[in-house]
Symmetry: C2
Subunit: 93 residues, 2 copies
DNA sequence: TTATCTTTAGACAATATTTGTCAAGTCAAT
DNA sequence: ATTGACTTGACAAATATTGTCTAAAGATAA
């Protein structure tokens, strides 16, 4: 899964921006942005606010997606993922 | 939070084992085991099955705790943690 | 108190993982 | 066939994590 990257590509295309244009604004390499959108790399946490302001979308939305990607990285291929999620939801409440 | 380490210490003490005894069986350094129990280090994923067999507790229980610790590492200090957890629970269902 | 045993702390080393870069590649449209 | 947009793969650089060693702290008994 790649929630953030998928959403970024969607937003970028909606706004008719090229990878290199958005990459330039974010001051990152075009290839890296391509990888982020495709889920080959994760965006740095600090990049998310920049992205949200450039693409004019609520920061919270993107942070949730970024976190979801990170959570997925932890639980992928883990049969007990669901139990762990329940556990932690219960614990942190 | 340190779910796994807390539980390990509990189990080890119940069984009257010293750090160095358990560490020896796990073939890890005593100081490292101390850190794991105290949450200063995370156990390696592959260690969990060994631990469960030595302490004679169901592997699943410890894996859930290990995963919970890892999930916590991702969401700690994140105000949107709860939303991300909900999101991913919904998505992976 | 001192001697001994267990556990912890801290600095550092060793490893592993993640992120970033570059150059070359594909693919579509012209 | 050239150009422009994007992707890929190998590698480098940067970060993060895990492990080790030594000394210190804490407890307890002699």
């Amino acid at each position: 899964m790649n929630y953030l990257g998928t959403r970024l590509r969607e937003l970028r295309e909606e706004q008719g921006l090229l990878l290199r244009q958005l990459a330039a604004q974010l001051e990152i390499d075009t290839a890296l942005l391509s990888k982020i959108e495709r889920g080959d790399r994760r965006a740095q946490r600090e990049l998310v606010p920049n992205i949200s302001s450039i693409l004019k979308v609520k920061e919270d939305e993107l942070i949730v997606l970024w976190l979801a990607d990170k959570l997925e990285d932890v639980i992928e291929n883990e049969p007990l993922a669901d139990k762990a999620l329940d556990f932690i939801k219960k614990e942190t409440k």
